[in-house]
Symmetry: C2
Subunit: 192 residues, 2 copies
Amino acid sequence: MRILEDRIVKEGRILPGDVLKVDSFLNHQLDTVLISEIGREFHRLFKDCDVTKILTIEASGIAVSFATSQFFNYCPVVFAKKGGARNIGDDVYHSTCHSYTRGGEYNILVSRNYLSKDDRILILDDFLASGEAMKALIDIARQAGCTIAGCGAVIEKAYQGGAEIIEGLGVRLESLARIRKMSVEEGIDFCR
Amino acid sequence: MRILEDRIVKEGRILPGDVLKVDSFLNHQLDTVLISEIGREFHRLFKDCDVTKILTIEASGIAVSFATSQFFNYCPVVFAKKGGARNIGDDVYHSTCHSYTRGGEYNILVSRNYLSKDDRILILDDFLASGEAMKALIDIARQAGCTIAGCGAVIEKAYQGGAEIIEGLGVRLESLARIRKMSVEEGIDFCR
């Protein structure tokens, strides 16, 4: 998605530890025009998949998922919660993932009330790197017996192996910007 | 906002500790039709205030703010981050608030890059109870020299004093559903 790639080049900042910061439009400040276009693109890619619900994870996946749902006839969005399960009740699906950026393991949780075997789920997230978070969302959707229409990532760090993990689970993956490699010295190189 | 009140009565669950759970449409699963209507209502209330940016707090404020921004000509949304300031950089505004639901204090943070004295800010959140989170957002907006157009809460627990705190700071407040009192035995009574 060219307007997204251009924006990443223009405003993304590469930090030590292989971190790409896109806080000016996706992860802290939200460019709601661009995010609406991201929603339109996810719809174009998955429009024939009879999506009934979008599953994502707090916090940065929420805006993208909301925008996308509008193109899927305002289907519901469910966002998984991270960590300590405060206030969510005991009746949850959960899965564990490892965080490379923050270190350590954390749980993600979804109430059993909001996923069912009748749902055809589109799983969305802002970043795909090692695939840990998306793999956990797939695990939860499968625990609930959902059909998974596919996974969508706004930005994929294609050199970190996440796509192989998701596709190895038998799930279709679409990423809107795929980074082949990046460095402070040489900038960002996309797979095109 | 009558459709919101009706939905709270129909699906809200009152839990011990004076907790109102609205996970089926606002805090975990998102009813994107209702949330779009919430955005339309915030626009109706603040449309003459020359809003240039919406400020909220992760995670449940994000969808409401995204929906509202669409009615304000897709103005940017900034969501404050809670807690440990991972990855956000040092150059932040921060404010501290006390959490009654979780206990203890936590920090909220906004990068200095995304608020300026030229901004006319609409502050939105899903809940207003004691007013701690909204007061911290006002504090941050004032640190940045922004003009505050007003604050909007989707649901206000009007018996917890938050409105008096916000209005005591000289900020206009609009809440879309105002709960006068609630209990498991007697249900929910709205201020109308």
